[in-house]
């Protein structure tokens, strides 16, 4: 018996090695809430819960694997990942499948995937790697080059068009640049430029994108069209009240009033059934996740690690904020999932790999400094 327990213990020890338990607990708690909401939203498609479970296992494995790697090892992936991602984006632009009027998908053998999703991690990796290399002699020129590295994939994704992903990729890229120390003055100037650029940008938007922005300002103008998502989601959230309608009792969700109720709008399902109290729990979990992420970033050993940890943490925040903001009607509807809750394997994989990176940074925080 003693002999038999030893290898088991060792395996268990090896398994938890490098895993930040705080982070894991928070993430798993979020995932559990996700399953609760997904189960409710999937009353007519029970297979989805199982699918999501499989995705979760895969994502956990990926997280574990990444967590085992040292940040230095991760750096090696930066350039190839970025280049491959960029090539794939170009390939999508040339040969991609058109789904719902957007060219986002690329066939790879039997499956197809969105290269833009990959960019969410490849771009910060690339930028962090670049800044890390130029750490001792950072100049404005480096920031300009970083901006170029950001703008190319961003532009390609906007062109697909996939505003949600583009916004996320752009944001994550910007976070790296921000943490790398871009001067406040330049940021102020860029912000001013951005406001000015809004006007020609408006002209470049697709009709449906414009409608989404316009209907955000006044959803009632198109209650059966573009405003429908917002109105119904807002009704779901609002009708949830303080304590919600109770699990599996959401009428908005169960009567198919909520579009995309498994994926981007799962927060509406959650909020309807669990109410303000549920939302508070969710916000607290995200705050803890972000807080933990910031702590890890603060204690990171290298610039690369710091930048990656900071960017990934802010990426979590961006996902959560944009999604909850759009479902509750204060942000335009863009395709951004609720992190760790929305149905969908790809997004889950990205998020868990991000978590894995945080764990890796946390595990290796003292290696260089001590």
């Amino acid at each position: 018996m003693e002999l038999a327990r030893l290898p088991v213990q060792r395996i268990a020890q090896r398994l938890v090695e490098g895993i930040d338990s705080t982070l894991l607990v928070i993430i798993l708690a979020l995932s559990m809430l996700g399953f609760a909401a997904l189960f409710s939203a999937s009353y007519d498609t029970p297979g989805r819960v199982l699918n999501q479970l499989v995705s979760l296992c895969i994502a956990l494995t990926a997280m574990w694997l990444v967590a085992q790697l040292a940040p230095q090892t991760l750096m090696r992936f930066a350039v190839p990942a970025y280049v491959i991602g960029l090539v794939l984006l170009v390939a999508v632009a040339l040969f991609g499948d058109v789904v719902n009027g957007a060219r986002r998908w690329l066939h790879v053998g039997v499956t197809r995937f969105q290269p833009s999703e990959m960019m969410k991690l490849a771009l910060p990796l690339m930028l962090a790697w670049y800044f890390h290399r130029r750490e001792s002699s950072l100049r404005l020129r480096d920031f300009a080059l970083a901006a170029l590295l950001l703008i190319v994939p961003f532009g390609l994704i906007v062109r697909q068009p996939d505003l949600g992903t583009a916004a996320l990729v752009g944001a994550v890229g910007f976070y790296v640049i921000f943490f790398a120390g871009l001067s406040w003055r330049v940021m102020g100037a860029l912000a001013g430029l951005f406001v000015v650029a809004l006007f020609p940008l408006w002209g470049m938007l697709h009709d449906y994108q414009r409608r989404r922005v316009l209907t955000l300002l006044d959803p009632t103008t198109d209650p059966l069209g573009a405003g429908y998502h917002i109105i119904q989601a807002t009704i779901a959230v609002g009708s949830g009240g303080l304590s919600g309608k109770g699990w599996l009792n959401g009428t908005q969700a169960h009567l198919e009033f909520i579009p995309e109720r498994h994926t981007d709008f799962i927060f509406a399902v959650f909020s309807e059934e669990f109410g303000l109290i549920g939302n508070l729990v969710l916000l607290t979990l995200y705050a803890l996740l972000i807080g933990r992420g910031l702590m890890i970033a603060a204690n990171a050993a290298t610039l690369f690690a710091r930048l990656m940890a900071g960017a990934v943490t802010l990426m979590f925040f961006t996902y959560a904020f944009v999604n909850m903001g759009m479902v509750s009607g204060i942000l335009p509807v863009v395709g951004v999932p609720l992190p760790f809750l929305s149905y969908g394997g790809t997004a889950l994989l990205t998020l868990f790999i991000g978590a894995g990176i945080l764990m890796s940074v946390q595990r290796h925080r003292t290696l260089v400094q001590t």
Partner: protein, 641 residues
């Protein structure tokens, strides 16, 4: 802390780290602010506006689906069904769900026959209906067509087959003006329903009574719309029924009309234009009410096709016009019995007062001619009615004066609406100085000239009454002055409980008439049928009756019609009238018949009266109707709804 870095680099690195941590802090604060905004939004939605959104969610969940009620049946006094419902299939287009209505119709026509008439009718419906959910392109689909469409329905988005109840009129055009037609609820109807606050009760209902009893008793017939609370999804599909308030069928309407009599009467007119009103004295119940030509009520059920509708409206015979209550005619000599009665009541004449009738009456420098060139010689009151002496009544009118005439005729209800329970009743003209004052603008026209009184005496001049007024005046006289409001509704019947609500005869006035005088007039009118102007028409009658012929001059056509050259002559001919009651003792029917441009009263109107009375009093059917479908076939057919 061993370091491989130089002093300057270390300081630089430390500064960088501090800067990084500062930025982490800034980001942290920014994120906290962002989450606070979200929290505020949640509190706003879920606490402050919770009630609002909760009710919105409730509305979302439950849809109220109306269940239109079955419309009440209409039967005659003997239970013969004159309006019933049958369920049929219609092919309906949901305009909001199709891209192009035209293209959809074209596609449909490949599968199911759609005639240009159907298209025209559909177009008309599109224009007339406010915000239609669906409109029928075809009605009365055959089973084969239903099956054909069902098999191909996937090809036609926004097109559905619906089972609906349709109105059916077994008698087609018989009694069309009384029964009335149904039509789709148009914008005006919708507005009226909204004004009356009953539009909710018409949700799910497409048709409404447009004329006759169908319109007048719409509220009785319609019933109460039921509602089904259905839980629906966002696509509007019903998931399950939560509660159901069944519709309450409309009440059945039982008419005072006798459809057999009505059919006999209409048949007697043949192709001639005219009107007939038969009233039961002592109750006011309308036994028959004819306006010829009529129209086929069944052709209105799907919405009349524009061609038929145009024909009806441009037809110089004006079939839609209900002549029995809206037609205004000079009464001609049918006015004389009333004049005679007035003379007796007002003491202007006695039974034996005689005059010498030379064939004319001279008033001032004008000569009023009698219809009989040589005159009738010595004429007393009785004879004046039997032979219809004009001269007698010229003199009588002159003696009585217009005010006395107007006052007496007004008491009998002439010149004012009878209040019959049908819409569109005309007022007619009871001539009097007051009337003339109001009618005309210029002072010289407003003055009443004594000479104008003379022709009033023989029912000409400004005299103009509706058939129902004359018939009711007759009924009033033979009921010894008891004037009842004429009505076509006998009672309503709850289709489930069979509970009846009868309409009590409404005594409008008790005209002070001496029984003796009434008897005298009745006998004089009976004389008409035995030895007078109605003698030929009533030869060998198996019952007693009283009557009076009338011939009314047609001075000009009333309406601003375009004259059809070929018809001018025919339409300038005199109207033929006959007023009657039967039997002599305790009359059970009083009637007025007018045949437009029918010539002498004795020639056209009297024979029609004979035919109708023959049937009503002794059950004798004209030959051509003996072989026709017996109306009994329609009797007690109440299960059809």
């Amino acid at each position: 802390m061993p370091s491989l870095l130089g002093h300057g680099e270390l300081r630089n690195s430390e500064r960088e780290l501090q800067q990084f941590q500062l930025r982490l802090g800034v980001a942290g604060v920014a994120m906290l602010v962002a989450f606070t905004i979200l929290l505020a939004r949640f509190v706003f939605l879920q606490v402050v506006q919770h009630d609002h959104y909760r009710s919105k969610a409730e509305d979302n969940r439950i849809s109220i689906v109306p269940i239109p009620p079955n419309r009440g049946l209409i039967t005659d006094r003997n239970g013969v069904v004159v309006a019933r419902n049958y369920s049929g299939y219609t092919l309906e287009i949901f305009p909001r769900r199709v891209k192009s209505v035209e293209a959809t119709i074209d596609e449909l026509s490949e599968l199911i026959e759609i005639t240009p008439r159907d298209r025209a009718r559909f177009k008309r419906l599109t224009v007339e209906t406010r915000n239609p959910e669906s409109l029928p392109i075809r009605t009365r689909l055959t089973d084969e067509e239903v099956a054909k469409f069902a098999a191909n329905r996937f090809r036609y988005e926004g097109v559905e087959i619906k089972a609906r109840l349709f109105r059916q009129y077994p008698f087609a055009d018989v009694g069309s003006h009384v029964i009335g037609y149904m039509g789709r609820i148009n914008k005006d109807d919708q507005q009226r329903l909204e004004d009356e606050g009953v539009d909710a009760n018409y949700r799910g209902t497409d048709y409404i009574g447009k004329s006759g009893v169908e319109a007048k008793y719409e509220r009785e017939l319609h019933g109460t719309t039921g509602f089904e609370q259905v839980e629906i999804d966002a696509a509007g599909r019903g998931i399950r029924t939560l509660s159901r308030t069944p519709a309450v069928s409309g009440n059945n309407i039982v008419l005072t009309l006798d459809m057999r009599l009505q059919r006999v009467a209409e048949n007697a007119f043949g192709e001639r234009r005219g009107a007939l009103v038969a009233i039961e004295p002592g109750t006011g119940a309308v036994l028959a009410l004819v306006s010829k030509p009529g129209f086929d009520l069944n052709l209105f059920v799907d919405g009349p096709d524009p061609q038929y509708w145009a024909d009806l409206n441009t037809n110089p015979d004006r079939p839609l016009n209900n002549r029995a209550i809206a037609g205004v005619y000079p009464p001609g000599s049918t006015f004389k019995p009333f004049m005679a009665l007035a003379a007796l009541e007002q003491g202007k004449r006695r039974y034996n007062s005689t005059i010498n009738d030379p064939g004319y009456f001279i008033f001032g420098d004008r000569r009023f001619r009698d219809s009989k060139p040589g005159g009738h010689g010595v004429v007393d009151l009785h004879k004046s009615i039997v032979v219809s002496s004009d001269t007698y009544y010229y003199m009588l009118a002159n003696d009585m004066g217009i005010d006395a005439i107007a006052s007496f005729m007004g008491q009998l209800g002439l010149g004012s609406p009878t209040g019959i329970d049908l819409d569109g009743e005309a007022r007619g003209v009871l001539p009097s100085p007051e009337w003339k004052m109001k009618r005309f603008k210029r002072p010289e026209q407003q003055k009443w000239y004594p000479g104008e009184t003379i022709s009033i005496g023989i029912g000409q001049g400004y005299n103009a009454y509706t058939p129902v007024q004359l018939a009711n005046a007759m009924a009033t006289v033979v009921a010894n002055g008891k004037m009842y409001r004429p009505h076509v509704l006998s009672h309503t019947e709850n289709p489930r409980t069979r509970e009846r609500r009868a309409i009590e005869p409404e005594l409008v006035a008790q005209v002070p008439l001496r029984k003796e005088y009434v008897e005298f007039i009745k006998r004089a009118m009976a004389g008409v049928t035995k030895e007078g102007t109605g003698q030929r028409a009533f030869a060998k009658a198996e019952y007693t009756s009283g009557g009076k012929t009338g011939t009314a001059q047609v001075i000009a056509m009333k309406q601003n019609e375009k004259y059809d050259e070929k018809k001018v002559d025919e339409r300038h001919r005199d109207h033929s009238l006959y007023i009657s009651f039967a039997p002599l003792d305790n009359p059970i029917i009083a009637m007025l018949v007018i045949v437009e441009n029918g010539g002498f009263g004795a020639r056209a109107a009297a024979p029609i009266t004979r035919t109708v009375l023959d049937y009503y009093l002794v059950g004798k059917l004209p030959k051509e109707l003996e072989e026709a479908t017996p109306v009994d076939e329609f009797e007690d057919d109440k299960e059809s709804d």
